[in-house]
């Protein structure tokens, strides 16, 4: 039974694309068949973060419009065999996507993959609503600061009203991925606490990823952090989040300053 996941946030720059690539890679590393779909038509980035920018021939828009077959547009990752990428077009805009076309592509992808991860563009317009339209599960990426939290709240409202699941009266599952968390600043009270964010958004926590230079260096070489530096705290956070998506009961730990892994005993129950 395949699952369609939308990675969304409302606000830009919070880490949607990084999280899509890293969660996708982590799920593939766990043996799942995964495709990551870039919905940011016109501003594509996912191909860069996955190191596939020189291999793009056809893209999502070509497939949606019927100019290319799905198999022609899919790019298989060179490092993990079960990971594929469906890139966005850089020369077109979001109006090139249609609801029916996207639905058809998602249905086709469901047949050959266990996980279809849709990397949503920022905003609440057509690109973002199409990315979430056919999702079974939403990963809401949020930074611990007020504007990101409010935008995420707005997106959760849209997930509960504009998705196919919501419209057919089913429950849309949503999980929070807190990114760019800075334990030092949180300890000094300069950042919203994990509790505050959870209290406002009122959805289960999928994981917490600390702000880390490991992510930047992984992006620069075009390799998801879970592959580039599997031992880094960021990679571990993404791998654990992926295990939670797979149904494993792994406690979420709040990253602490300096103390690193030893203090990861301060567990927090994952999904309620």
């Amino acid at each position: 039974m395949s699952k369609v996941v939308v990675v969304t946030s409302g606000k830009g720059g919070v880490g949607k694309t990084t999280s899509s690539a890293s969660l996708g890679a982590a799920l593939a590393q766990a043996g799942q068949k995964v495709v990551v779909v870039d919905f940011d038509v016109g501003l594509r980035n996912l191909d860069l973060l996955m190191g596939a920018e020189r291999r793009v021939v056809f893209d999502l828009v070509n497939v949606v419009q019927g100019d290319a077959k799905l198999a022609q547009a899919l790019i298989r990752d060179k490092r993990i065999e079960t990971l594929s990428l469906l890139p966005a077009s850089q020369t077109r805009d979001k109006d090139a996507l249609t609801e029916e076309g996207v639905g058809r592509v998602i249905d086709d992808l469901r047949e050959s993959f266990d996980w279809v991860i849709c990397d949503s563009p920022a905003g609440i317009e057509k690109g973002a609503t199409l990315a979430m339209r056919y999702a079974d599960l939403a990963v809401v990426v949020t930074n611990p600061e007020v504007s990101s939290v409010r935008d995420s709240d707005r997106i959760i409202g849209l997930l509960d009203s504009k998705t196919q699941r919501a419209e057919s009266g089913e429950r849309m599952e949503k999980q929070l991925l807190l990114t760019r968390y800075d334990p030092a600043r949180a300890a000094r009270g300069e950042m919203m606490s994990v509790e505050d964010v959870l209290e406002i958004l009122a959805i289960p926590l999928l994981g917490i990823v600390s702000e880390s230079p490991d992510i930047l260096s992984a992006s620069n070489v075009g390799c998801p952090v879970t592959l580039h530096n599997p031992g880094s705290p960021a990679a571990q956070a993404y791998s654990e989040a992926a295990r939670r998506l797979l149904g494993d009961n792994v406690a979420v730990s709040i990253p602490r300053e300096k103390q690193g892994f030893m203090s990861r005993l301060f567990g927090r129950k994952a999904v309620a």
């Binding site: 609440i124 409010r150 935008d151 709240d153 707005r154 959760i156 409202g157 849209l158 509960d160 209290e199 406002i200 009122a202």
Partner: protein, 241 residues
Amino acid sequence: MNAETFSLPKIRVRGRSIMALILCPEAPFSQWFAALDQQMHNSAGLFDNRPIVVDLGPALESVGPESVLVALDGLNARGLKLIGVEGVRQNALTGTPWAQLPTNLHGNVARKARSDVAAAAAPEAVEAQAPGAPSLLIDRPVRSGQSVIFEEGDVTIVGAVASGAEVIAGGSIHVYGALRGRAIAGLRTGGEARIFCRRLEAELVGVDHLYRTAEHWGPDLHGQAVQVRCDRGALRLSALG
């Protein structure tokens, strides 16, 4: 009657109830409009595309007939969408640009008239509606950007009202969670309505035609369980229990 009468199309008339906000200008106008400007500045969008009914009764009483034009011009200049006037006779508007505005839009009158019609047409339907005022229960948080508008009666929310969300009710509003957005109660019941919340972190609260933004209440009430109600013409916020 001639043959032409029969070939004319049938006119279909449908009823619709809409929610209007009521503004009540008070003398001295310079101060009242300054307060309104500040209100509009602090809560941008509150009046956007909302129909507004102006209650001129108090102004007419304290200032006199010349207040009518001043008040209406002042509101019009701020881009508010006036759909009606109350508290003033139609002939007071004759010869002004406002002569077309209806002066008999009062909600209670309209409601009474409508239920009279309903009673005559279908008595059993009225009986079914009779027990208690209607209310709306929302069993999940109201998210930023969402708007809950229920003009028939009370609204109860089990969860929080997010920053950037709004709840507008004909009667009272009960929030079993944090109220971080806007809550406007009493569109139908007026000053009788109250707002209750588990935790006050609101951007704006309003009952009847009275409003308060967060900067008007001190840090003492912030984060507290609070009720908001009208008390002798002023909005009063007090901690619960």
